[in-house]
Amino acid sequence: MKNLKLGEFEEIVILTVGILHGNAYGVTIKDEIEKRLDRQVSVGALQITLRRLEKKGYLSSAHGETAPTRGGRPKLFFTITAYGKKAVEYTRQKRNELWDALPPIVLDL
């Protein structure tokens, strides 16, 4: 299960794609992350992460409709693959394990 590791930003992107369920493309993903996490995301950083995740097989993409504001360019919708789901699960599980292992006294501080 070594290959299921996700980076912090990768995890955020995959989760956001999941949240947007069916409406996840460049603009909405960026908006969603910015809204929920209150941080600025550059198109460059987002796109490169999306492509990387797609290459790794966590995401799949499909061209969708276009809009007049897009200059005739199609939207590229992303969805989480089964493998992607596994990766998020894995990350979450590992994170939980870490939380569980944490002695209560540490958090009391």
Partner: protein, 859 residues
Amino acid sequence: MNQVKPPKFPLKLLKSFCKPEYHSDIEGDLLEFYARRVKKIGPQKARWLLLKDVLLLFRPGMIRSFKPLQFLNHLTMLKHYIKLSFRGFRRHQSTFFINLLGLSTGLACTFLIYLWVADELSIDKFHENDARLYQVMGNYQQADGINTWNGTSAKLAEALEEEIPEIELAVGATDPDWQMTFNLSVEEGKFKSVGKFVDEDYFKLFSYDLLLGDEDQLFSGKTSIVISENLALNLFQTTENILGETVEWQLQQAKLVATITGVFKAPPYNSTDQFDLVLPFELYQQVYGNDWQNPNSVTYVLLEKGVDAVSVNDKLENILQSKTSDPGPNLFLKPYSENYLFGKYENGVQAGGRVEYVRLFSLIALFILGIACINFMNLSTAKSSRRMKEVGVKKTVGAGRSSLITQYLSESVLMALLSLGLGIAFVLFLLPSFNDITGKEINLQFGPKLILVGLGLAIFTGLAAGSYPALYLSGFQPAMVLKGKLKGSMGEIWIRKGLVVFQFSLSIILIVGVMVLFKQMEFIQNKNLGYDKDNIVLFQNEGKVAEDLETFLAEVKNIPGVLNASSVTNDLFSPPGIGDFQFEGRRIEQADFGRFAVNYDFIETLGLELKEGRGFSRDFAETNEIVLNESAVKVMGISGPIGKKAKLWGTDMTIVGVVQDFHFRSLHENVGPMFFHLSSYSNNIVVRINAGREKETLASLDQYYKQFNPGYVFDYKFLDEDYQALYLSEKRVAILSRYFAGVAIIISCLGLFGLATFTAERRRKEIGIRKILGSSVFLIIKMLSSEFTKMVVLAIFLALPISYLLASKWLSGFAYHITLQWWIFAGAGIIALILTWLTIGHQTLKTARINPVRFLRDE
């Protein structure tokens, strides 16, 4: 919704680097953001943010890979282009050969001129210390203005080295222009060699390699001599173990046995200073004096590193003032290697010199290359109808304009490279005669520099020549050309016509030039100088001959085939000035008054005609006699000159005869006044031999000379050689102009040929219709050729006045010249017309004889 157009640049930028498979949706996202931002924060900021986004997208995962894919493609395309070019060459062989000939002629010319210019610029630059090496020059104030030359006092060098700290070394020497010829004798025999006197540090200043000997000990004694490797080989057949050998040298009356203290490598060919032996300067000063007032030497200076020559000039001034009360020259330093190219001074100011030729020839090279390129363009565009369809099909299939441009450029560069090959073959072939004409020893050494220059030249030519056709052809509208329509603007045609007129004017000027030069040189050859200049032999008066001249001359006259013999002090075509010459109490100070110091029988040996009185004769014991020429009688205003007295150097001289005027200077000058006087000392022996028996007579002369003057070489020359040497530069110009005329004619004809082809192709349909309507072949030929004839006639009318002016200007440099006759100009015009008709004949005939159906059916 209010649509604001997004800026183009960021999107173009994105497209240029983004992976194509990612590009379209990312651009969509960006545009969506942009549209939103415009509403929210205004277009100004939105634009900046868009650019920022694009720039932030510039990261490794996004950037497409440029090289591997593109490179492969380019290579394949290049192969394809080259293949197409070769097919084209094979298919249109005549065009190919015409282009090849035109470009290679142009390149060869340019290359030759480049070699010449590079050689000129390299002269005297080989010295290691070149940047710090200076020659002391002097501005001498004289009656007719400031005279600038290199003469300085022999004492100067030593004073400079001692008194000016900025000067590292200073060396005195004799002027290399004197070309002092020494007679050398060793056990093995006698030799003549050119040499000079130099100071000790000479070999430290100049980079002439010392092969043997100690640099510091070369001139430790007055009896030293340093010789060149070549001379050593001549004298001893070896260069080994010759230090310490003795050589006896003689210069005029000076004679000394010297010991060899060093051997140097003879100066390279690109040195202006050529010498085979050097002697101690101290000796020269001893014999010829070293007065501060006497500028009988030259001085070379090596400055300390980082010293400005201008700052030293002021100090030079002071040095001279502290040494002598005489108003001496204004001394200044001149970089040694500039002497060659910048040798001319006018009234103390630098006024060019040979560098003018360097500039002129560089200009000519550019000019020739330019015309050759334009011709190539002309021919290529003229043949454009052949390629119309190719361009149309390619564009339809999807070739971009840039790839078409690349194709045509690579074709023309290929053409230029092929021409370069042929051009270099031309250069190799022509180089010996080129060296002959220009008096150089240029070798074609294929080093990296030459290859770089050659390739650079070819590629530049290819790009320049191909640029216009490439732009012109690639600009065709595919739909139009596939329909068979080709537009040609009037402007283009005018440019072509103008070019042809220009080229032909140039050719006609050169044709006239060649003819005028030829006639004038012929005139010079055949000009009666007032005596028969053929069959007169000259040789030096030296050794035993000089000791017993009278006996020698008397016996030489007895040799069969010898008609007469005498001797003379001066050079026959450049007599010295008259010196102190007075007639009836007034001094004659005419610059062109010539004085000949001669021996008995001189007038008879030359064969001058006596108008009055007699020549010098041994029968009269009197030696204070002079003979005038007719001009002198006129200039001096004497009537009945015989028996009158004139004063030469204070001595009364009786005028005993008057000779008819004869040419004693070059034909550039009028025959001036002159006189002969008797002189006991002579430099040259003059012998007139029988025409038709030259070989036998010279052989017996040689035999007799060796017997009379053992150890000396019978080194003779004909007077005619001296005469020819007077016109050396004219001869060079004559030969060079012949070559240039040839090149100009070839190039002009190519230009005309291009235009003829172009016109023929454009007018095919017109001619087809004319023929259908009943025009005959003859009429069409007349129609087509009249167009070109008109252009050439225009060129003739432009060129003839110019060539007339140029020719008369050149001829006015000669006091005796041919008259410019009408037939020279008529001849040049007719030659131009005949060339025109020959050039266009083939095309015109071909066009006139076409079957009209062939060109009219596809409309």
